[in-house]
Symmetry: C2
Subunit: 215 residues, 2 copies
């Protein structure tokens, strides 16, 4: 009975949610790859949308690469403050990484207005000064992916990993295909769906793996 | 062609997205009520999930009540920092409202641990000292809705409005039904789906209406 869980602890609720997700995936005949499983299940947990089991694309060894980057204390760069807010700060501190978002940066605003582009695209530019390894966590702005791909091909930015899950109706499918077809290690959700919540939960899935959490 | 929009301004992208959403709703034979339309379309815009057109529940005169509360400078209380991060701060300032989240509050943490409940439930308690009208914006924690309903029936809190769109697999459907069956003015998404992004975008839809934005 669902109501049995009314007064249980939050950790138990999450555990039970993942059990239900696993059960329903089995009922649908979906078998996930072992390393991708915690990522895909967390997306379903965040959205209650089982379509993520079919649309998430992982480049070769994506989860291992991503988890190793976190172990090397890579910087995480989010395209929105919402994605940044969704990243578990306790896990982040424990793993020893830092996360950023430059969307509200005054200089980014100026560049975007001057060039008639989005602030997300302008803020990708603003990351070139960050030293060390970089993970881009994009849940909202397809223009951020388009700019990343462009700057990568111009040799101006080397993204060590891209979580590319913007949501939307314009440019989104195209921008995701750019990353899928690139040689940048990535996790991308094909099609229109995604969001800041999905970007953050994929990042959390990686952090929890590095932390050796169970889920 | 999708790619025609690669270099257009962000405002144009949003406008085009809403046009596509309207077109696809028409193709599906869905006609939205005029006052609910900007809210429902914004949820679809945020999630690329058309199921929101069928599952969002509005209590009587919900949008008018919500918009009037904003005009009266009601406080907005979010259950997560992610929902808070998703609320458009420029619109919020223009309308003259303030938004809060007490999840990271030290006292809330202590109460939650002591009582073995969620921080979300504990933080609903923490709102009793806020004066004036209150809008609760819940995108993550069903326990926040359950606690709200309980405190309301005990006469300890009077929520002037509840946006009840937590996502999940445990308690979620039940918690939403509590609000749907209450006499608290509300917008609730039936079923499992929702999220901090949906909570924030419903709040933004209301703010934009008060601001007289077009979308």
């Amino acid at each position: 009975m669902e109501n049995d869980f009314l007064y249980v602890k939050p950790g138990e609720i999450e555990k039970e949610s993942f059990r239900i997700i696993g059960e329903e995936l089995s009922e649908q005949g979906i078998v996930l790859k072992k390393k991708q499983e915690p990522y895909i299940k967390r997306c379903i947990h965040t959205s209650a949308d089982f379509s993520y089991a079919k649309t998430l694309v992982f480049s070769k060894n994506a989860t291992t690469i991503l988890e190793n980057l976190l172990k090397e204390h890579a910087s995480i760069i989010c395209d929105t403050n919402m994605a940044l807010a969704g990243i578990n700060k306790t896990a982040l501190a424990k793993v020893g990484c830092k996360a950023y978002c430059f969307m509200a940066d005054e200089r980014v605003k100026e560049i975007a207005e001057k060039e008639g582009t989005t602030r997300a695209a302008a803020s990708v530019n603003a990351t070139s000064h960050i030293e060390g390894k970089k993970i881009y966590c994009v849940g909202n702005a397809p223009t951020a992916l388009i700019e990343l791909d462009k700057l990568y091909h111009e040799g101006r930015i080397v993204p060590d990993f891209v979580i590319g899950v913007p949501v939307g109706f314009v440019n989104v499918v195209y921008a995701k295909e750019l990353i899928i077809n690139s040689d940048i290690p990535h996790i991308v959700n094909k099609g229109r769906k995604g969001g800041s919540n999905i970007a953050a939960c994929l990042m959390n899935a990686a952090l929890y793996r590095v932390e050796h959490r169970q889920l």
